[in-house]
Amino acid sequence: MEIPYVVTPRKDTGLFNAKIAIWLFLASEVMLFGGFFSAYVFLRLGADYPWPERTLPVLPGLINTFVLIGSSVTVVFAWASLKMRQWRKFQIFMGITVFCALIFMVLKGVEYNVKFHHQAVRLKDYTIMEGHLGVEKEGETPVLDHHGKQIEENLIYVETSKLTYNTVRFHKPWVEELLTQAEHEKSKIILAADVTAITKEKEPAEVIAKAGEPLSIELLNKIQKAHLAARAHNGADRTAALEQEWVKAHAAFPDKRDWQIASGVNIDMKALTPKLLDEISTVAFSVEPATRFDFHPRDIKQADGQSRLRDDTVVDGKLLDSPMGFHHIDAIDFQYLVMKAAAKGISPEVAIENSWLIKNSPFAREAWEWHQGEIVKLKADLLKRYGVDKEGNPKRFPTHKELYRIGWKDFAKKAEDGGHAKLSSADSFKEEFLGPNYDARGDETFPEFSIPREQVAFAAKFTPAWNTYYAIYFTITGLHGLHVIGGALVLSYYLFFGRKMYLTNPEWLANRVEIGGLFWHFVDLVWIFVFPILYLM
């Protein structure tokens, strides 16, 4: 059967099938993105922390805007070429469009990658520091985890003497990781005592595992199997016993409703207990000798004496100093601290002077003093340019961000003012995409810094975990990125597989390209709003 209105429009609507379909789809897309933009407004107005204004790199965003606008022009040219039956031109313009999509996604990938590797930490007093973490080293060689990956200097160290595993919830990769660490430290993790349990009804307890057996996944699995079998057996016994009690109760009180007799229906535990098997919910291993094990902060609730992992493993041992080691600090941000101080009626300067960082880091103090000098210059400049109002107050004054944030460009300027070498313009251009170049600028610009664990309130990479700004940034740009990929795939299909249709029914292909093009323009249209809202406001 031939499908009607593929090429020719319907008389009533004046539209061919795909046209009405794409507009239906675009209307739903408008609502989807509109919903996310509304969410952005809500999150921004409702943020209980200083919203990160103009925090994304403008240059990559700007280039991406040019790229998308350019591709919008070329896709309409590609459609026009088809309409004029110029296949070669169509190929060129569509090729450029798809290439533009590729550039867009590469730049977006670079931008995301920088965020995924950039560390932020909020201290207990709401000072925020940003930078890159160092990696764990032995001498000059980086230590690798059991996946062969480098380990960042953001670990909790516990001198572990005992590990008690939950036999149901233990997380296999963490067991493997600890085994690797124990092997590296030449220590042993062995079963602390015999695991004995009644595994069959009316039979004596048997030894499932002997004290001294080394920790292994197989051993944990074996104990887990016995535990689960006992649990299933006991559960079935309990259910059967309860059913019997109900039968008895119904016979004794035939006229009563269930809810009236429920409180008197109880299992006779005395009779049942001898039938039950032993459940082994936990199993303890001793670490000989006591060894320093490293844990990721997100996996452990640390405490001196007894810590607990997220999989319910109990770690007995002394909590050691576990500082967060920044290989390079590239921003110090007092905006949040100032906001919290203002709520208590404390002046920003007093709050910053009394912050842990300023009191404990000569570098931070020096940077803050330099920054205050810069602010004096900025205030004088604004006063000179814009003057004062009728009441004699300056018409323009520095922003909250300018006043209380020392960003990486400030650190770079401070070092350059101090006589350190400037980067070449090519290297500076690269920094606009990849962030600060630590190797070229050196430790004088971005120093190493160690934060004691007890000062750390919250730490994350620049991912949705860090704050709602990054959550909505990744949601909107991620969704938009998926649209770019989807659109590019459809347009590539026309480019690489459209020739046959062009030769048989060029008008049909032109209609298809028009539909693909409409979607592509919409992707551009969304970005036209995303760019100023996320990058410039």
Binding site: S28, M31, G34, V41, K83, I533
Partner: protein, 113 residues
């Protein structure tokens, strides 16, 4: 709609012209956000920068929709479809405004100060 090859040939100049305006609009948006002496309202980002930035973005989006997406000479059905989507968005965004107009809404708390 420009459907004949001759009409399309004519509209190519329009597409190029609109493309040029979109480029210029983008540059303007960045300049007013980054060059201090082009900054409207108070120093740094404020509501006037927001109004200006979004106005330019809306003009740009309008050009894309009307010229590139041919909304300047579409059939009625398309207008109805698109307008209904847009109405839904405006209602959604209106919810934000309603929340702000709510006397119980603590604007001081929500402004982050």
């Amino acid at each position: 709609m420009a459907d004949t090859p001759e009409a399309i040939k004519k509209s190519i100049r329009t597409y190029l012209f609109v493309g040029g305006i979109l480029f210029l609009g983008t540059i303007t948006t960045v300049l007013v956000a980054t060059v201090p002496w082009l900054d409207v309202g108070a120093h740094g980002f404020d509501k006037w920068d927001c109004v200006l930035g979004l106005t330019i973005a809306t003009i740009k989006a309008g050009l894309v929709a009307f010229v590139f997406m041919h909304l300047n000479h579409e059939k009625k059905a398309v207008y109805w479809l698109f307008a209904s989507g847009l109405c839904m968005v405006c209602s959604l965004a209106g919810l934000t405004a309603l929340a702000l107009g709510d006397p119980i809404f603590d604007s001081l708390f929500y402004s982050g100060h």
